[in-house]
Symmetry: C2
Subunit: 366 residues, 2 copies
């Protein structure tokens, strides 16, 4: 040892005033000192970087273990920032409340795992509030990119993108159309659902509209209108009610439909949550599905097939959505110039189960 050059490495003598706080985690220097080598040797040994004899490596590993050494992620990251390496962690911003979100997040989780990476989920705070600085900053610096599935606030959102964090949006909003995105073919699905109902013989079809800010909701409405027109059916304003993609508002919305002078014989719900709620409402009103009223949903969340009567619905390819989002993010990060403007739309599929049937012969109810 030379002459106490580096302050810490040579600080073998306690009196130097460099006493370690009790609860502090051991650092490279601590275990280096214990092993009688330099920090670099320890670093190399622990990271299997070669240049260390096998004995030494074992010895160091042993000491590290018993001292409970864990790499300081923050320090490592800061140091690595020079070489701009990845963290292997992908950030996900989402609301984990609804079943739909659950499916999407699970799918992303699977896809991320398939890529040998990991995922951290940030669930948004209450509406209107912006991201707290802490988390925003952490996300900004700790993850390789962000996949956002947000039904609401997007303010600080563009800021994240502006700060250079690769970002892709799943189920985009009007406000996020300028970012790369992944979504299911809502328009196509809606058309498919409507045609199914029309083929069954329905002429009076209501629509439980979803959250208007989501493009998917708009597209489903568009599909509803277009197929109506295509079938020569009139668009009736009283048949289109807001249900916000949620079960609670779907209830009064359905009741309203039931109370109409000329109630519909079928309901196309914007998503499964509202479809399930509608069915429950219909049955509580003493009617039955699909005998009195047919119902078709959208999403095919796992609950849809578990209901007493399996829900006829449009299946979103969740796994594909997750995989596409992750891939898109990776491409973006890799600098693929075309990725920045890529908008992926995945095909959906009609799943016929037990909540749709031909309408009752005209005799009943009016």
């Amino acid at each position: 040892m030379t002459e106490e050059s580096t302050s810490r490495d040579a600080a073998a003598a306690p009196p130097s005033g460099k006493e370690r706080r009790a609860g502090a985690r051991p650092t490279l220097a601590d275990i280096a000192q214990a092993a009688g080598v330099t920090r670099m040797t320890v670093s190399n040994a622990l990271n299997g970087r070669g240049g260390v004899s096998d004995d030494m490596r074992e010895r160091i590993r042993e000491i590290a273990r018993e001292k409970g050494y864990v790499t300081n992620w923050v320090a490592k990251k800061l140091s690595d920032s020079r070489s701009g390496s990845e963290t292997g962690i992908i950030g996900v911003i989402a609301e984990i409340h609804t079943p739909f979100m659950g499916e999407v997040v699970s799918a992303i989780s699977g896809a991320v795992r398939d890529q040998g990476r990991d995922m951290l989920v940030y669930s948004l705070p209450d509406p209107g509030k912006s991201f707290p600085g802490n988390v925003l900053d952490l996300l900004l610096h700790a993850v390789d990119g962000v996949i956002a599935v947000i039904p609401r606030d997007t303010r600080d959102f563009h800021m994240l993108a502006a700060a250079g964090v690769p970002m892709v949006v799943v189920d985009p909003l009007k406000e996020t159309i300028d970012m790369p995105s992944v979504a299911a073919d809502s328009y196509g699905g809606a058309c498919c659902a409507m045609r199914h109902l029309i083929e069954l013989g329905h002429r009076k079809i209501a629509f439980l509209a979803g959250e208007a800010r989501r493009l998917s909701a708009q597209e489903r409405l568009r599909g509803y209108r277009d197929v109506l027109r295509e079938a020569g059916l009139a668009y009736r304003a009283e048949y289109v009610v807001e249900a916000g993609f949620l079960p609670e508002p779907a209830r009064p919305a359905t009741e309203g439909l039931l109370a109409l002078d000329d109630p519909p014989t079928a309901i196309f719900a914007g998503n499964d949550a509202s479809a399930l709620s509608a069915i429950s409402t219909i049955e509580q009103a003493g009617l039955s599905v699909p005998e009195d009223i047919s119902v078709v949903g959208f999403d095919d969340v796992s609950l849809a097939s578990q209901a007493r009567r399996g829900l006829t619905t449009i299946r979103q390819p969740f796994a594909d959505i997750g995989a596409a989002a992750v891939q898109l993010l990776l491409d973006l990060r890799a600098g693929d110039p075309e990725a920045a403007t890529r908008h992926i739309t995945l095909p959906v599929e009609l799943i016929r189960r037990e909540t749709t049937a031909p309408p009752r012969g005209d005799g009943l109810r009016r």
Copy 2:
């Protein structure tokens, strides 16, 4: 300026080879240079630390904004590590798949927010796999503590705790009883549910057992047995079937019960997921709930009340659980010595809805 002392501050001349990479984010030094002051002044100005004239502060803020400056969380954290400050972020380890988890995580989210902090969720990888180092390390260094709600693997889990991360467990497993925890009173709730059924006149009550590793599942089973004994009823092995707290296994389990020579007149399901699945199975078998068979669940997830027939169940005080977990974590972090061994059990409540009724007069079905 003296003689180019600090490498960067004085590096006004490009030829120094210190060119900034194109995509790099601006640093304190960058904006300091643009403003013609030192980094500290910028730091102070941006963090509202005083010691900077108002004009200067405004000017600096302006420059920072247009340059898109964001403080480097990693560097800040590393620097702060000296003074051991908090990050204001709480980590949550959970599976977000099931409705129960969703409720718990939402509750924690709310509680965390109430404390002016924020939350990052890490969803476990596939069973058996251990935490990938990256995320573990990140968690270790980026959050003030961890709240875990894990149904499965716990290996690296104790390691996190050993590394000194304050940690509390919600709905603990056998393996985690040595950590501070928060849970609902499963035993009490089970007793309550069973007594309700018995008061209604049921004598043949089956139990859909939950995931055995979870203490809550064990406690519910214990409650089931104890109340049976207390009521002078025999424990019948064929009435206790595994359903793992999940809907899928609950289906065959229920079918098995229905196929018994002497089928039960009531089913106490370990949780709502299995209860709902049981009901659906019963109805598909052509029987009705509660006329033929009563069913009571456990949890009172939001779905329970939305079903066509509201599910009679035991309500877990999710909000309280979340709040207690966060509080416990904060106490732990604050060094409260007693917190380390605290196990909080919160009271539950029977919610009578429409899936329980007296058994059919003995005439029917044997």
